[in-house]
Symmetry: C2
Subunit: 690 residues, 2 copies
C-alpha cells in the first residue's frame, strides 16, 4: 500500500447551483437541488464504526486498524478508494489505497503509534482513467471507435500533466503525445503502460470525490491498556503489628514483583470517615479501634487528595510509587467518588449532595439496604460544573503524583456524560492515563461505559464457570463490535466477590480459575494474598462476601504457607510474559473437546510464530479425559506431518499426529499450557520444530 | 398504550454553564463542559433505523411501526420512555408509552395512515416519582426513613399539582395532602395509589429528558406499494394487422382484468428513433418497416412527453388510462432516461450528452458491446440542474395525465443523488406515486436504490430456482433490515429475460415459476402473452433473450390457445385476492420437507385468521413426494387435534394430524395452495373449522 501525506481538502467540483447554470434557471429556486449532486460514488457500511461514529474504537500503539467499506458508483465505471487517517493534532491526512474484495467491498489498513486520538475516514471517486483503460483493453483491434477513444485518453493524460510537476509532468506529457499520434497499436500500447497507470493514479483530479459521511476516531493507548497482570492488596495489612503503613509495604512489592505482576492496585488510601463507620463484617456497631472501610472516604484529616495518616504522608506515597517503579510495577489508585459524612466536601459544598425535606443530607440507600456511612454526590445539582471540575481535579492531583492508572469504583452510579467528559479531558492532556471501570451491572450499562471512554472493564468472568458459559462469554468479549471498545480485565476474586466456585473448589478450584483468567484474557488481576492463600470462607452460606473481610479489618497473612499458589502464579505469569500470543485477545478460538468438563482454546500471534493451546479441567474434584479436535489448517499443520506439543506448565513434550488427540487432566494439575511447535520440513533427515 | 398529542419542545432543564454557577466558576471557560450534562438517560440501539437514519423505512397505510430501543440511566432509578411520531406536516408529536422488555430494551408501536413522510423518535427521562414509589414499596414498616421519604414524595406530588390544571390539579393536591399528614400506613397507602401513579406520569416534568440522537423517517405509501399483480404487454402487438394502436387494446385490457391483474405496465410509448434503429432480433441491419425498440426514445415526432403516432395521440392514451381504471386496472409507464440520436433533446441540449474529441456525441458503449441507437445523458455535465429539472418534468407530465406508477429502466446507470432528489420531490407533492426500480445489477447497488426512495425493486428471483436458492433469497428479502426498505416485485419473465428454467421446463415449468412468484411475493408480474402462451425459445442456445423478441418486432398472439395458462393464472390471482395472508411478505416462513425438489412455506395474517401453506414441486419433469414437518405451535394447533388442509388449487380437503404429513405432487399440477383450518373446540360433539 502506498502512503503519502495529502492536505485535507474539500471534495473537488464547482458548488451545485453556481457554475454552468443558464440564466433562466438561475432565476428559479435551486434550494431543492442537493449538495453533492454530481458525486456519483456511494460509501457506506464502514467497519469498524461504533454507533454511527458516536464513539471511538480502541487500539494500543503498534496495532493496526483494518477498515472495510462498501463503495460503488452508478454504471460500470471503475472507482478508486483511499483510507485517510491522521492523529488529531496533525493537519494533513495520510492516505493508503484500499483494495477491492468481492461484492463492492473494499479493504485498507493503517497502523497507529502515537498515543491519543486519531481520525480515519474514506474517500472514493470515479476513476476516469482506469475506466477508460479498462474499456480500451476490451476493444477489438478493428474497433472503429479506437481512434476517438485514444484521442480522449490522450486528453486525460495531458490534463494530468498540467496538474503534475517536474519529471512526472514531463513523463505524462510524453505519454500523452505517444497516445495521441502514431500507429494505432503503438498508441494503444502506450495507453496501457502500467507505469502510466500509476502516474495517473497519483495525479487523479478526484473530480466529484465522495467523502464518507463521518470522520471516525480511534483512541490509541499504551501497551498496558491491552495486557497486564494486576495485584490488589490492602497496605494496612502489610505490617506485622498494628496498622500497616505504605512504608511497610516494600517486602510486599518485592513479593508481587517476584510473582510477575505488572500493576499494583491499592484500595482507596484516603482518610476514612468516623461517623457511621462500619465495624468488622460490615456491622453497624463498630468497636473502638475498628479501621472502617477505605471506600468511606473523608474525615477531618482530608478527603480524596489526602493520604490516610495511618498509612503515611504524601511523601510516603511518592516513595511507594518510586519503589514500585523500581521493581517494574505500576501503581493503580482507586477512584471512589463518594463521601463519608465527615468528608470536608460535606461542610464546604452541601449543595453537591441531595437533601431531605428536613434539610439533612440523604445517605446512600437502595431500600431496604442502607449505607449511612456514604453520601453520594447529587449530579443533578445546579452547581454541577463546580462539582465536575472538583472531581476532575482529584484525578489531576494524582496524575501529578505520577499515577497513570485509575480503577474507578461503581462508575455506573454516576452519569455517563460526566465520565465521558472527565476521561476525555484527562486523556487529551495525558493520553497515557488508563481508566478501569468497576461496573458489575447490566450488560448495556457496562458497554456504554466502555464506549464512552473507559480503557478497560471488569467483567462477568467471576460468574462464568462452565464450558458453555466461558465459551459464549469470551467469544462475545473477543469479537466485534464489542471487542473494538470493551477491553476485559478479568478477576477470579475481588474484596467484594468470593465466588461459589472458589468456596467449594479447594486448591484446584483456585488453580483452575487462575489459569483461565491469566490465559483467556490478556489483562487479569487477583485480590491477594486472599487469593494465593486460598481464602474461601464466606460471611454466611450463600454470600459472596468474605468472612472477616479486609474491607473492614486488618488481616495478617502468612505468605510462606506451603499450600500458597505463589509458585504456580509465578510460573503462569512467566509463561504469559514470554509468549506474545497471550498478550492480546483477538486471536482467541475455542476448540472442540468431547467432555463438558474440559475446555480447550488457543491464542496465536498474527504471524503465527507463537501459538499457545490451553486445556483446562473445569472439575476441581475429579480427573477428566477426552478427545480434542484441533483445526490443523488454522495452525498451518499438514495432516500427515507430526507436530510437537510442549506443556510449559508440566514440562512434558508430546508428538501429536492429526487433528484428534487424547488428553487427561488431574485436578491437582488442572491445565495444559501447550506451545505448539510446527514441524519444519527440511532436506536433511532430522526434525526441527519452530 | 396511551396516546396524547404533545407539543414538540426542547428537553427541560437550565442550559449547562448558566444556572447555578458560582461567580468564580463563571470566570473560567466552560467550553469543555458538554451540553446535556445532566441528562442521565441513554437511548441507543434503536430499530428500525437504516444507515444511522440516513434513509427512511417504508410502510403502507394501516401498517404499524414497532420501535425498540435500549434505554437506561446510571444508578438504580426507574426511567420512563415514550415513542414520538408525527406526519411531517404536523407540528406536534403523538406519543405512546414504551414498555420495558428484558435487558434494558423497550418497545413501542404506532400505526401510520396518511401517505407521505412521517417522523419518529424516542424520548426518555429519569422517572423520579416511579423511582421513589419503587423504593417506598420496599421499605419495611418500621423504617425510620419512612417519614422523610413520605415528606419528599408529598413535595413531588405538590409540584406536579402546580403543573396540572382543573380536576387533575385538585386530585394531585389532595393526594399530596394525604401523603404529607396522618397515620404512616394511610400515608403510604395514599402514596402507592395506582391512579396517583397515572396522574404523576401525565404531569411528569421530564427533567433532563434525553432525546434520541436522530429523528427517523418512515415513508408511507398506498396499499399498491405492498401488493399487486402486474401484467406487461406491448400495445403495438394488440392489433390483428399492422401496428397496434392504444385504441386497439380494449380487448387486451378485458383479458388482463379477467385474469385478475391489478397493474398494466406498458413499455415506452414514445416516438422511436430512426437513426441506427435496431432490426428484428437486435440486428444492426433493419429492414424497411422494422419498428425498432421502444427504449430507443425520441424522433422528430417528439420525445419523452409524446405518444408514438402509430400508437395514437395523447387523447388515445387518456382514454386508455380511463378504460383501464374502469376495469380496475392501473397503468404503469416506463421511465427510460436515454435518447435515440434523433431525440429533440440532442439538438436542443447537446451539453446534456458526452462528446468525443471530434465533437460527435458518445453513444452507449460497454466494450466490446455498442448501442449506437442510444445516447446516455451525461450527468456530470455542468448544466446538470437544467437536465435534472427537465427529467423531473417528464414525470410531472405523466403524473398530470393520471399515471401514478413508473417502472424505471436501468436506474443503476444514473447517479444515486439524482434519483433520491427526483423521487423525493415527486412524492413530496404526490405521495401516491410509486417507482419500481428495474436494476438487475450488484446487490449493494440494488439496495442503495431501494434505500434512497424506490418504492419497489426487481429481484434476482428469475435466477433462483432450487429450494436452497429460493429459501435463502426470500428469507433475506423478507427479514430486516432489508425488508424495511426493499420491496420485491418478482417476475418469472420479462421481455429481456427468458430464464433457462422456462426454456427447458415446458408447461409445468411455467406453472411452477408462476405459483412461486405469486405466493412468495405480495407483488409480482409477468410479461404476457409470452408467459401464458409458454413462449420458450431463446435467440440462440445459452441466451436469455427471446427469439423474435417483441422488443424489436410486432408479434401476433393467439390468446385462445388451449394450452394457455390463462385459467391457471386466473385461479391463482383469485386466491391471492381472497387471502390477505398473501398480501404481505413479513410472515413468510419456510418449512422442512425431506425432498430437495419440494419446497414448503407459509404466510399468515398477524391475527392468525388466514393461514396459507404452499407446497411446490420444483421438478417440472417428475412426480415428487416427501414428508413435511409443520410447526404446529406457530399455527396454534394442538398436537393431539386434527386440522383441515383445504387445497384451493385442486379443491381437495385433507384432515391432518400432527406435525409430519405426506405430500405428493405431479408436474402437471405442481402445487398445493392450502388453507389451514384449525379445529375449534366446542362443547357440542361435532367439529368446526375456522
Amino acid at each position: 500500500m502506498s502512503r503519502a501525506p495529502v492536505a485535507g481538502r474539500a471534495s473537488a467540483g464547482p458548488a451545485p447551483g453556481s457554475a454552468g447554470l443558464k440564466p433562466d434557471l438561475q432565476e428559479r429556486p435551486v434550494a431543492a437541488l442537493p449538495d453533492g449532486s454530481r458525486v456519483r460514488v456511494v460509501i457506506e457500511g464502514l467497519t469498524p464504526e461504533i454507533d454511527a461514529g458516536r464513539f471511538p474504537i480502541k487500539r494500543v500503539s503498534g496495532e493496526s486498524v483494518i477498515v472495510e467499506v462498501d463503495a460503488f458508483a452508478d454504471g460500470h465505471d471503475r472507482i478508486a478508494c483511499v483510507l485517510r487517517h491522521r492523529h488529531e493534532a496533525e493537519r494533513d491526512w495520510h492516505e493508503t489505497r484500499m483494495q477491492p474484495l468481492v461484492n463492492d467491498r473494499w479493504r485498507g489498513a493503517f497502523t497507529v503509534q502515537r498515543p491519543g486520538r486519531h481520525l480515519y475516514t474514506v474517500q472514493a471517486w470515479v476513476d476516469a482513467f482506469a475506466s477508460w483503460r479498462h474499456d480500451l483493453r476490451r476493444r477489438p483491434g478493428d474497433d472503429p471507435d479506437l481512434p476517438p477513444a485514444l484521442a480522449a485518453g490522450a486528453q486525460m493524460v495531458e490534463a494530468a500533466a498540467a496538474r503534475a510537476g517536474g519529471a512526472d509532468a514531463r513523463a505524462l506529457a510524453d505519454a500523452a503525445a505517444r497516445i495521441a499520434r502514431g500507429a494505432i497499436e503503438a498508441r494503444r500500447e502506450a495507453a496501457l503502460d502500467d507505469a502510466l497507470a500509476q502516474l495517473m493514479a497519483r495525479y487523479d483530479a478526484r473530480r466529484f470525490a465522495a467523502d464518507y459521511a463521518r470522520e471516525l476516531a480511534v483512541v490509541v493507548d499504551r501497551e498496558r491498556a491491552r495486557c497486564g497482570a494486576w495485584y490488589e492488596f490492602f497496605p494496612r495489612s502489610c505490617s506485622e503489628t498494628g496498622h500497616g503503613r505504605l512504608a511497610d509495604c516494600m517486602p510486599r512489592l518485592d513479593y508481587a514483583a517476584a510473582m510477575g505482576f505488572d500493576v499494583i492496585y491499592l484500595p482507596p488510601i484516603h482518610p476514612i470517615g468516623r461517623s457511621f463507620r462500619k465495624g468488622r463484617n460490615n456491622t453497624t456497631t463498630p468497636e473502638p479501634g475498628d479501621v472502617g472501610s477505605p471506600w468511606a472516604i473523608g474525615a477531618k484529616e482530608g478527603g480524596h487528595k489526602s493520604v490516610h495518616p495511618e498509612l503515611g504522608t504524601l511523601d510516603d506515597f511518592r516513595r511507594f510509587v518510586e519503589a514500585a517503579q523500581a521493581r517494574g510495577l505500576e501503581v493503580a489508585l482507586d477512584l471512589a467518588f463518594q463521601c463519608a459524612p465527615d468528608h470536608p466536601y460535606v461542610g464546604e459544598h452541601p449543595e453537591w449532595f441531595r437533601h431531605r425535606p428536613d434539610g439533612s443530607i440523604q445517605y446512600a440507600e437502595n431500600p431496604p439496604k442502607k449505607y449511612q456511612d456514604i453520601y453520594p454526590f447529587d449530579f443533578e445539582t445546579d452547581d454541577w460544573p463546580a462539582l465536575w471540575r472538583e472531581l476532575k481535579s482529584i484525578v489531576d492531583f494524582w496524575v501529578a503524583e505520577n499515577v497513570r492508572i485509575f480503577r474507578v469504583d461503581n462508575p455506573h452510579t454516576k452519569p455517563f456524560p460526566f465520565w465521558e467528559w472527565l476521561i476525555g479531558e484527562v486523556k487529551r492532556v495525558h493520553p497515557d492515563v488508563l481508566f478501569l471501570s468497576e461496573a458489575f451491572t447490566r450488560p448495556k450499562v457496562m458497554h456504554r461505559l466502555a464506549k464512552l471512554g473507559f480503557t478497560q472493564s471488569y467483567t462477568y468472568f467471576t460468574w462464568r464457570n462452565t464450558k458453555h458459559e466461558l465459551t459464549a462469554y469470551f467469544t462475545e468479549l473477543t469479537t466485534p463490535p464489542g471487542s473494538e471498545y470493551f477491553r476485559p480485565n478479568v478477576w477470579p476474586n475481588t474484596p467484594d466477590i468470593l465466588n461459589e466456585f472458589l468456596q467449594f473448589g479447594g486448591r484446584p478450584g483456585f488453580m483452575i480459575r487462575f489459569v483461565l483468567a491469566a490465559t483467556l484474557a490478556a489483562t487479569y488481576g487477583i485480590y491477594g494474598p486472599a487469593f494465593e492463600l486460598l481464602e474461601a470462607e464466606p460471611r454466611e452460606p450463600g454470600s459472596e462476601e468474605y468472612r472477616n473481610s479486609e474491607k473492614y479489618e486488618i488481616r495478617r497473612w502468612n505468605l510462606q504457607r506451603p499450600d500458597s499458589l505463589r509458585d504456580f502464579i509465578t510460573h503462569v505469569n512467566r509463561i504469559r510474559r514470554e509468549h506474545p500470543a497471550l498478550h492480546s485477545n483477538a486471536s482467541l478460538q475455542f476448540h472442540a473437546i468431547d467432555n463438558e468438563q474440559l475446555i480447550c482454546y488457543s491464542k496465536a500471534t498474527d504471524d503465527g510464530t507463537d501459538i499457545v493451546l490451553v486445556i483446562v479441567n473445569l472439575d476441581p474434584h475429579h480427573r477428566q479425559s477426552g478427545w480434542l479436535e484441533l483445526p490443523l489448517e488454522r495452525f498451518c499443520i499438514e495432516s500427515d506431518r507430526p507436530y510437537q506439543m510442549h506443556d510449559l506448565l508440566g514440562g512434558a513434550r508430546y508428538l501429536w499426529h492429526g487433528a484428534r488427540n487424547y488428553v487427561e487432566l488431574d485436578p491437582q494439575a488442572p491445565a495444559h499450557l501447550f506451545i505448539l511447535r510446527r514441524h519444519l520440513r527440511r532436506e536433511q533427515d532430522f526434525d526441527y520444530y519452530m
